[in-house]
């Protein structure tokens, strides 16, 4: 086996390797490929359906036999979606809330994770345990108290209330992830060198540790962003009036009295629009993502 691998050398990353002829292996590979293709269809089917419906007329969407491709593709649904609800304003709202929450959460998580991972001080264990604990409380059990709390602060139906909530919910997981990450990838020697050079702890953290840990930070940022972007429960609870709604809640505007969407294609178009920004942000940040997760979770 190793002889073959060496011989194929630079081409070992190609299809040839897949079709290596060892009967036990081939069978496994064939099965795996079949299952993978099936799974990919399963994964992509709804997205494809959503996408293609957003270019079709309502009648086509409902038709049986199903029309897998739009017969007369049209951008009308997107226009309708924009007319029926302030689509772009909602997208902006979501972006603003998600990005702000992500930035704040990342900053706070970095600070906390760093000291919790690096130093042993009284109460560190307790604090870590508390943070771990809150990570595991399901959202649904917090709905009523948090609503009252935000209302008491007068932050109901404001960006601030929602942002604060998202920060609070993402912090535990972020701290956990980053703590493991700092522990493993930012060696104490770096910090010591900075201290020797005359930095205090805070500047050492800022100038030396943070830049080195970008992958982990990117991972946390993207997680928080996605959680905030996709969230429906809290957005519909805390910010659901007028123009400030996030896009996920805004999509609910399509529901009529009967419950079903009045303009199905416009609804699908709005769904597509609700999905794209997250996709773009992810594409942008993804190269750091995998690296950031590795150190964080394996060493934890």
């Amino acid at each position: 086996m190793s002889a073959t691998t060496e011989a194929t050398g630079a081409r070992s990353g190609s299809w040839k390797r897949l079709f290596d002829l060892r009967s036990g292996d081939t069978l496994t590979k064939v099965i795996v490929i079949l299952i993978t293709i099936g799974t990919l269809i399963y994964i992509l089917l709804p997205v494809f359906w959503m996408l293609k419906s957003s270019f079709q007329a309502n009648v086509e969407i409902r038709a049986l036999p199903p029309k897998w491709l739009p017969e007369n593709p049209t951008l009308q649904p997107y226009e309708n979606a924009g007319r029926l609800i302030p689509l772009w304003r909602y997208v902006w709202n979501s972006l603003f809330v998600s990005v702000t929450a992500s930035v704040i959460a990342t900053l706070l998580a970095c600070s906390a994770a760093y000291v919790l991972g690096r130093f042993r001080f009284p109460g560190a264990t307790l604090i870590l345990a508390l943070i771990l604990l809150t990570n595991l409380i399901p959202a649904i059990t917090r709905t009523f108290p948090i609503y009252f709390f935000i209302q008491d602060l007068g932050l109901l139906n404001s960006y601030g209330g929602l942002i604060l909530s998202y920060v609070g919910f993402s912090l535990p997981f972020a701290v956990l992830l980053l703590r493991g990450y700092f522990e493993s990838s930012a060696p104490p020697e770096l910090e010591e060198a900075a201290l020797v050079d005359g930095c205090n702890h805070f500047t050492a953290f800022l100038r030396v540790i943070l830049p080195v840990s970008l992958p982990g930070i990117a991972a946390v940022a993207i997680f928080t962003f996605l959680n905030a972007w996709n969230d429906f429960l809290w957005a519909s609870l805390l910010l659901n009036q007028g123009e400030m709604k996030t896009i996920q809640v805004g999509i609910g505007d399509f529901a009529q009295e009967g419950g079903g969407p009045q303009y199905v294609n416009a609804f699908m178009a709005a769904c597509v629009v609700a999905t794209i920004p997250a996709l773009i942000v992810f594409l942008f940040v993804q190269r750091w993502l995998v690296g950031g997760l590795t150190a964080g979770s394996v060493k934890t």
Binding site: N58, V59, R62, L64, R83, L84, T143, F144, Y147, F148, Q151, D152, L153, G154, L155, L156, N157, S158, Y159, G160, G161, F232, L233, S236, L237, N240, Q241, G242, V249, I251, G252, D253, A255, Q256, E257, G258, G259, G260, Q262
Partner: protein, 442 residues
Amino acid sequence: MSGLKIVTPNRPSKGRVLAAFTLAAVMSGTMMTQATAQSIDFWTQPQGDLLVYQDTMNALASEFKAESGIDVRVEVINWSVAFNTWLTVAQGGAAPDCADMYWLHSFSGIGGGKYGPQPITAYRDQWPTLEEDFFPGALEDVHWNGEFYGIPWRVDIRPMMYRTDFLQEAGLTAPPANWDEIVSMGQALTVRDGNNTTRWGFAPGNNNPAQTLLPYYWQAGGVMLSEDGKTATIDNEAMRTALKFLQDLVHVHKITSPEIFEKSAVPLDDFTSGSVAINGSMGNSWPSQFDRDYPELEDKWAIALNPEGPENRDSYSGAGYWGVLYGTDQIDACINWIKFLSQQENMQRISEATGAASPRRAVMASESWNARPWQTVMGETLEFGHTSQHATSVWSALASPEPGAVLYDLVYSTVIGNEDIDAAVVAAQARMQTELDRSATN
């Protein structure tokens, strides 16, 4: 998708809240909207075409402003969050000055005289000809506990709708006029393809079990509650008759789909796609929607009075109304706005824009409401309207379209689950009484 909103308990620490509120407002840069002496907040649910409705209401608001100098800020509350919004309002949450509301009895009960809809009995004399001008069923919806709460502006009336093309195919000349004909015609209209039913002959109503049950129960001669709203009255012959009828439709005659009450059921889609030939209690906005969105169905549908049951042919009716909320300091401005809206020509405009039946007799008798045959039938059905409201604040809990609600369980277990009707009715009566006793001080 339903929105979530919850309710605040009675928090008397006003000073603390006010301080925090101000601080937070400064911190988060929230704009605090101060209601000036000349402006009021008005919330409304959309009706009919969303854009047309918004345009109409905004136009009316500007005309009102030109006339009176009062600025009305119209905000549209979408149906997906409407119920929870009003629930929050009834609990002390943020509220407008006046609004388009519904389910007066429930929200008043919850509000307990402090929040939610405010009675305007003192202003009733500003509408001296109320009884002549409006249908009685609609007026029932704005009175409670002897008080008057506002002006009804749209009626949700639900006649029967049927596919004329399918009836023709089956050699039928007229839609069912009574329960027996529902069964016989339904059988003629049901089409099967092997093990699959490709077309169901009859759908009794929409996917809300309680709402669907009501007309049939009334038609069998029953009422849900005593007049004072304190006693449940569903353990009787009429309930058994109604339930048996519906149960047989699904399990004996097999002309009704067993999926009708599922969350994913969309009665409108079923009708337009031809999966259902007759809907016994249609959504009231269907006709105008069909005219607008389904031109391919032109001439293939018609509506008719609900078929007659053993006792009568009562039709489901519910009215939305314009009313004033507790907590406003602009009652007079609100009353003026409501008076403006309730003028005949404005109610006419609104009715035409939304396609919703108007509780005002003159509007329903007007030309625009008689141009199409279906419109005339809507008007006729209004005479048989029976309000769906009930004089208890627990009603929305009883009739909630969620499993676990008393009526949901009763209807679902018997009609879909084919369980013994007697036992189910007795159990439901007991449960319902327990629920009614919850708000016993009402």
